[in-house]
Symmetry: C2
Subunit: 467 residues, 2 copies
């Protein structure tokens, strides 16, 4: 570079006097990029500050500043009286990674079972809640939060859960987390840290019920589910330290844990000193009667309750909550501290206001009505187009299970459906041992407009005809 | 209860016909509470639905509904023709835990080193950014987010970091996380999962630089820091798999990593194939010149960069970011999925808008000015009241280090200061081996009004007189 002519230097270091960026910063940026691109070779001398200043038509001090900065950053090396050179530590730029192109087929009918009606998310009310809550909160609220959650949200949530889910919730036992995934992850880590080894899980179940224990160093042990929920009698002999269940609406079968099983599960857990982890992911939605109250309300020192805003509002909020038995409360809070120091304050403030002002109840009333209509439209469409499907789990939640005749090729059906723009989950995806049990489809209906439900199911039936 | 008289029942089940809550729900709630309180004993029969309906003056179907609900929830047990009883699984309520009373002495002068000016948080602009971004975002944005962060924020952040910190940031290599704690936690877990055992850390350092590796099953190995930053020569022989450093402004000494050390560190890391983890927690604030560019910009495949909004905006946002070398990108993203599936979307949307609209730059300009004034006020107050303190690390960041004469009893000074309403961190708290090195105080100045700085330091001097 020391011997470069003016035009080359200008190409390398285009200095724009009209720009907002100071001249020395422009020169620094230009040199950094030239070094990274390899246009300035490692070890090569750079021009003297006097020469470069003259070439660029800037004050020499500007170039001196830029060189000093780049020396401090390690791009250049200045050694006493000799020429400043490009430092050997300066790397050349890696080839830019290609951005992932959206080459997947278009999804016209997405029956993903985990999504509420995203178009119904009350964005304006949510933003108002945030604005109001931020205005009211003391400045200190935006410092490092209480790792268990901000007190006002824990207070409001404890009240909401007691009222809506029949839990025994004291604000002290509540821990705010980033959705049920973080909640279960913290619990698994806390259990592992105190020596736990095995966690019984439902079979079939949500894949994270197996994945999170494994990730935490625990062994998930599948226990079969039937139309009454988890088969409690089969828990004996597993030597599990905990069991993860979905009593209100089993995922994915949709079964409610029968009263005799609820009693038997708690008796078994007490007898064997096992922690029951209740994943209450979608229990607010029950269409034939009031939601069945949480198991936690029966045995708050035996049952750890996990819930979230993902189904009642939106998964993107990443807001969840745990009700933790006293004996585990400190251990789970310690995991939360090491995970992220606490959940984000604006989201917590907004949720507290959103519940307190009755917005959540309003939203739940509205969506309960619309989800029931969507569910009915789904059932009708299934009766019409897939009459041999056996429909289960429709009393509650945001999805139904369509069990198909045993000769159905589930994988082929799902693949054919995808080519027709229908995205649907297979029942076998959620089984610990895929070949066992009948084939089926998990059909989330909450995020599909009623008007498109029939078209989607018709396409699914056509896909089946292809299989 | 079968033999309770009307008034007792009314006390137990006060039914309010004017309330919004349906009658059956009121009865359910009353019974649940009575069972939990032990007012209704386990195993005891409840009145027939006919008798209770007559007592309460409600339709029998209301009581039948309530009993059915409580049976489903496991509070009651109905067996064929015989009387419904309180189920044996129904627990009695645990004594409410006492809420933590605020008995700590009042803090009038909080020199906590981790806090920016919380009163300056631009709450209104932040809420506007959220509102605008929520309005513009497609509905689907509020579904499950990209675990690495929403694309628009990664794009905006990559640009900001390249411009403000001289990083080599492609949006693809960026991962949004819940503050630097989550970022480092994910990295430690990813390293541990691939067999790493030891992480070199600065001594003294931020306590989480030692705590997070330990929590992930790694051994932190302290390496001394002097006025030029970490002593790179002492890294040899440790057999570290990674090293965590704070090159721009060492925490807590405030030293900038000297150019020769930056070069030596990268050379050492390349020679030994060690990952350099750059914690760039407060580098946006530099008062004598432009901030020293990030080490990551010199060696993006060797250096993992961690930054956050905690110092430039507020820790309560819990927003941070990592620039992850290609070789580790998938492993860290996998940890993020198991940690929480991804960061909250509203916060990400708000931050992207906040940067794009220039609000962050405006905020940084404003706070740089005010922090410099606060820093100057602190230095002046120290000169006046603690003239033998040796002040270090004032060129950048949000805190200074006051090294005290070696005969100072640091612990006694801090305890006495607390009784005078002055909260301050000791240098020894951050050392791996507390007895080594001189005593000192870490003085965060960003969250203290200029006008109170002198009073706070005078109280500190008086506390020292007591020691």
């Amino acid at each position: 570079m020391g011997r470069m002519s003016g035009p080359v230097l200008e190409l390398l270091l285009p200095v724009d006097r009209a720009a907002n960026e100071p001249l020395h910063a422009q020169i620094e940026r230009g040199l950094r990029e030239a070094i990274r691109d390899g246009r300035l070779a490692v070890g090569a001398p750079v021009p003297s500050s006097r020469a470069l200043a003259a070439e660029l038509g800037v004050a020499r001090s500007v170039v001196v500043d830029a060189y000093a900065q780049l020396c401090a950053e390690g791009y250049l090396r200045a050694r006493g009286g000799s020429r400043t050179t490009v430092a050997t530590t300066a790397a050349t730029r890696a080839a830019p990674r290609s951005t992932t192109a959206g080459g997947a087929p278009t999804v016209a009918y997405d029956f993903h079972p985990g999504l509420p009606d995203l178009a119904a998310f009350p964005a304006r009310a949510w933003a108002s809640s945030l604005q109001r809550a931020l205005r009211r909160a003391p400045h200190a609220a935006l410092g490092y939060p209480d790792p268990r959650g901000i007190p006002c949200l824990r207070e409001v949530l404890a009240g909401y859960l007691a009222r809506a889910r029949g839990t025994l919730a004291e604000p002290d036992g509540l821990l705010v987390c980033a959705g049920i995934v973080q909640g279960l992850s913290l619990v698994c880590q806390a259990l592992r840290a105190r020596g736990a080894r095995r966690v019984a899980v439902e079979d079939p179940c949500w894949i994270f019920h197996r994945a999170l224990p494994i990730h935490a160093g625990l062994e998930p042990v599948p226990v079969p589910v039937d139309q009454d929920g988890i088969r409690v009698a089969e828990l004996d002999g597993i030597a599990a330290d905990a069991v993860i269940v979905t009593p209100a609406h089993q995922f994915p079968t949709g079964a409610a844990l029968a009263p005799h099983r609820r009693a038997a599960l708690l008796e078994w857990a007490a007898r064997n000193d096992v922690l029951v982890i209740e994943d209450d992911y979608d229990a607010e939605y029950r269409y034939d009667r009031d939601p069945v109250g949480a198991l936690q309300g029966l045995a708050s020192e035996r049952v750890l309750y996990a819930g979230s805003a993902s189904k009642i509002l939106a998964p993107g909020l990443r807001l969840g909550w745990l009700l933790v038995p006293d004996a585990l409360a400190d251990a789970v809070a310690t995991e939360k501290i090491h995970a992220d120091l606490g959940s984000d304050v604006p989201g917590q403030l907004a949720l507290a206001d959103f519940i307190e002002t009755g917005e959540l109840d309003r939203h739940l009333r509205r969506t309960r009505r619309s989800y029931r209509s969507r569910r009915d439209a789904l059932i009708e469409a299934l009766h019409t187009h897939l009459p041999d499907a056996q429909i289960q789990g429709i009393a509650a939640g945001l999805h139904a299970l369509a069990v198909l005749p045993s000769d159905t090729d589930e994988a082929a059906l799902i693949a054919n459906a995808a080519t027709r723009g229908v995205s649907v989950h297979g029942l076998s995806w959620h089984r610990a041992n895929p070949p066992t049990g009948p084939p089926g489809l998990i059909l989330g209906y909450a995020n599909l407009p009623e008007s498109t439900m029939e078209h989607g199911i018709r396409e699914l039936a056509l896909a089946r005809g292809q299989s």
